[in-house]
Subunit: 313 residues, 2 copies
């Protein structure tokens, strides 16, 4: 019997666990991805989180970084530089083809999720990658320099400015995609991947109607698990640790668990943080301690197995 698992994911960490989950449940996997990082570069719609998950599920991700396509070239980017276009957001040639095709199909009237599913099918991936919404939502961060677009902060300024405030522009008018809602309705389990709780998982949960659909699933007895993106007080990748502290939270597994208290049943934390298990269970979750580092296909599948064992056993 196919098990239906819905994963909520942002970028690289989420993509790694998604690939691990796909190794177990195959086409039973629906990954709902954050679209708050999406941006228009050179007139093309770029979806960093969607694409990172997609390339990982397709097994073609750039191994050293986790995003982009392994062995990609940069001929278009270099020539765009000749024309005076900004080049700090490096898009490879094969990667760019995805943005070109997607932009053309959306401009021609295609609905975002349908366009994404069509492109995914061409790569032959197992599972589906579902944008959290078909509506435009833009994560913005306030710094000492004022409000910045997310990629300006994340890529151009290398996450260096301190984040004083977050907002998800447009989210009031957004609603979950029909596919995302349908995925939650048939889910046997929901997994919050080890992604930034504030700017990766946060926007998904903030889409009006999403939390209600998640709560409805839990009311039907569907378990919700989360995997900590903070290990030993540090984010494995990205600025989650500093961002948590700057916004008044704690850069620890417990700090993340506090953000998820009330709608997460199982919290998976790394063995190095085992002493936090009691504090996490005090929040009303079951704590599962395991090695959560995913540096190859085997460890991705192993962490995914630990999560699935905890919620589907």
């Amino acid at each position: 019997m196919t098990r239906h698992v819905v994963a909520l994911a942002g970028g690289v960490g989420g993509a790694k666990l998604a690939e691990g989950l796909a190794a177990h449940v195959g086409d039973g996997l629906d990954v709902i991805v954050n679209t708050g990082d999406d941006c228009v570069r050179h007139g093309l719609l770029v979806m960093p989180d969607h694409d990172t998950v997609l390339y990982n599920l397709a097994g073609i991700e750039q191994a050293a970084f986790g995003w982009g396509i392994e062995g990609d070239t940069f001929c278009v980017m270099d020539q765009l530089g000749v024309y005076g276009e900004e080049t700090w957001f490096r898009l490879g040639d094969r990667d760019l083809a995805l943005h070109v095709a997607r932009t053309a199909r959306v401009r021609a009237g295609g609905r975002l999720t349908e366009v994404c599913l069509g492109l995914q099918a061409s790569l032959g991936v197992r599972g589906r990658v579902l944008p959290m919404t078909d509506a435009p939502v833009a994560t913005e961060v306030r710094t000492a320099d004022g409000w910045l677009e997310f990629q300006e902060y994340f890529v151009h300024r290398r996450q260096e400015p301190e984040v004083l405030e977050l907002r998800f522009a447009g989210i009031e008018a957004a609603s979950p995609s029909p596919e995302a809602l349908a995925a939650l309705e048939r889910a046997d389990a929901v997994v919050l991947c080890p992604s930034n709780p504030l700017v990766s998982v946060g926007p998904i949960l903030a889409v009006p109607g999403f939390r209600a659909a998640l709560d409805a699933a839990r009311a039907r007895g569907v378990p919700v698990a989360a995997v900590s993106p903070i290990v030993g007080g540090r984010a494995l990748k990205g600025p989650a640790d500093r961002m948590l502290v700057a916004l008044g939270h704690e850069a620890s597994a417990t700090g993340v668990a506090r953000l998820y208290a009330g709608f997460v049943d199982v919290f998976v934390l790394d063995a190095v943080d085992a002493t936090e298990a009691a504090a996490i269970e005090a929040l009303g979750m079951r704590a599962v301690v395991t090695d959560t580092i995913m540096d190859d296909d085997a460890s991705r599948a192993r962490v995914a197995a630990a999560v699935l064992d905890a919620v589907l056993a």
Copy 2:
């Protein structure tokens, strides 16, 4: 003193003469290009004639074909094929960067001619390449299969269907770009390049207001020269010979001259067609016989010199 020369050009043949003219008059050259062949591919605005002239003026054109960029790669195109996009219109990676940047700037509100001039400046070309109009015009050909977009006929069907009728969709609403009109106003001479008289030079002349501006220049004493694209009864490149016959004209230098009678003062024909000189002079033009084959930079400059000698001497 800078001599101002306005050339009217379509694709490869026109681009070769344009490069030859630039060798003599440098920044005094304005090439007004046909935009009827322009098309949207993969959501990107592609301008075959503009780009062929641009790449020739920049000295980076693909030597074997005359269009595209020498040594270009096709990584994006190959990946677009993976996504099921049509790939018969092959766009190289460096070439694609031009379409990406141009489309982004036009979509952001830029006027077509200003956008093109900005991109040209980045390549450091001598002279300017001016779209005949900022308005959309689409050359269409009627065949036994009905009306076809120009590139569908020209590239996809390899110019094989017989052309029964031509139309320039949108041309009634078009007007010459301000830059094109200003170029004609300051011109010391106008040169109709050896391009297809029906689908390359024809659309330029058909833009409402263009012929009046050309006539006004002639009334001020500005000479107009044309170079035959038909040599020995054959088009050097493309379907001009078959198209002329199919549409009731003659595939000869004289046949082209008849189309230009009344607004061309000097008609340059190839030495192999020298016997036609008298018939052409009978149309009210001065016939200049020379070797018009342009297979290298030296011959391009030599043909350009012959044209300029005839009109500026």
